[in-house]
Amino acid sequence: MLILTCPYCGVEADETELHAGGEAHITRETVGSSDEDFEDYLFQRQNPKGIHFERWRHVYGCGKWFHAARCTNTLEVFGTYSAQTTEPPKDIRDKISGKRPGWSWGIFS
């Protein structure tokens, strides 16, 4: 069972209390984008075995969206953080680096 701490209400919520929102930190391509970029935005998703950044919603609780950094292989959770950001915060990235040196995910490492 995956247990995530909601950064807004501080509750340790298990998976059944949350709703998965897919990959995090996707840049929305819109008017003026090339067809390739728009296709990537619409269809191309990462499916890593290992470190992953996702969006989740605390749907049975406070109702807020947030971000989670976790390992899809071991279900280890590195941390959760606010939805109001376009990249993983430094403390989360440092924490992952401490545990999995040399990691990378999309444009982040």
């Binding site: 509750v11 919520a13 298990d14 059944t16 406070c62």
Partner: protein, 188 residues
């Protein structure tokens, strides 16, 4: 004015614990900036309790305040006081971005009373309810089997639970089933 009745009209069940529908309760959803002093003072004067901090509920008899989310507050009053309280709340917040909605008729309230209340509740919600982890004063919105609920403890042996009125029958049946004599787990 029509004769308002609660969802289960005070239905009760005595098993491991007493499950009891609490009857009508005035409830007002307030959304806005919870650190705003006008919001705070209006909410505390209408409910006559202290303003709750994150994840808490202060409730005395039928009046209280519950922290629902970083921008949502639940104001509880006696049922017949709710329309006037909602009006006063809107008036106090009229100069800022907010939402005030009276939701009394959309909700049902239950009491779960008895020394085994923690055990009965634990069977139904994905929350650690062991003494020391969940205490009177804490407020938790979560899932009970298939429906959303919110609850808090009045005291060490009493839970108070809110759900949507449309699922009151379902929640009552769940609680009664979990409170069936002979189904003790004895975990706490």
């Amino acid at each position: 004015m029509s004769n308002a009745v609660s969802a289960l009209q005070g239905k009760a069940y005595d098993g491991l614990v007493r499950v009891e529908e609490a009857g009508l309760r005035g409830m007002i959803t307030v959304r806005g900036n919870l650190s705003n002093t006008k919001l705070k003072s209006a909410a505390t004067s209408l409910s006559a309790v202290d303003f709750p901090s994150t994840g808490e509920c202060n409730c005395v008899e039928e009046s209280g305040l519950a922290w629902m989310s970083p921008d949502e507050l639940l104001l509880m009053t006696p049922y017949d006081k709710a329309p006037a309280a909602a009006q006063r709340m809107s008036k106090a917040l009229e100069k800022q971005h907010h939402l005030v909605a009276e939701v009394s008729d959309a909700r049902a309230v239950f009491f779960i009373r008895g020394p085994q209340a923690r055990e009965v509740m634990s069977k139904l919600v994905p929350v650690d309810l062991s003494p020391g982890r969940f205490q009177p004063g804490q407020f938790r919105r979560t899932r009970m089997a298939q429906v959303p609920v919110a609850f808090w403890m009045r005291d060490e042996t009493t839970f108070e639970l809110i759900c949507f009125r449309s699922v009151a029958g379902y929640v009552f049946d769940l609680l009664c089933n979990a409170a069936k004599p002979g189904s003790e787990v004895g975990v706490f």
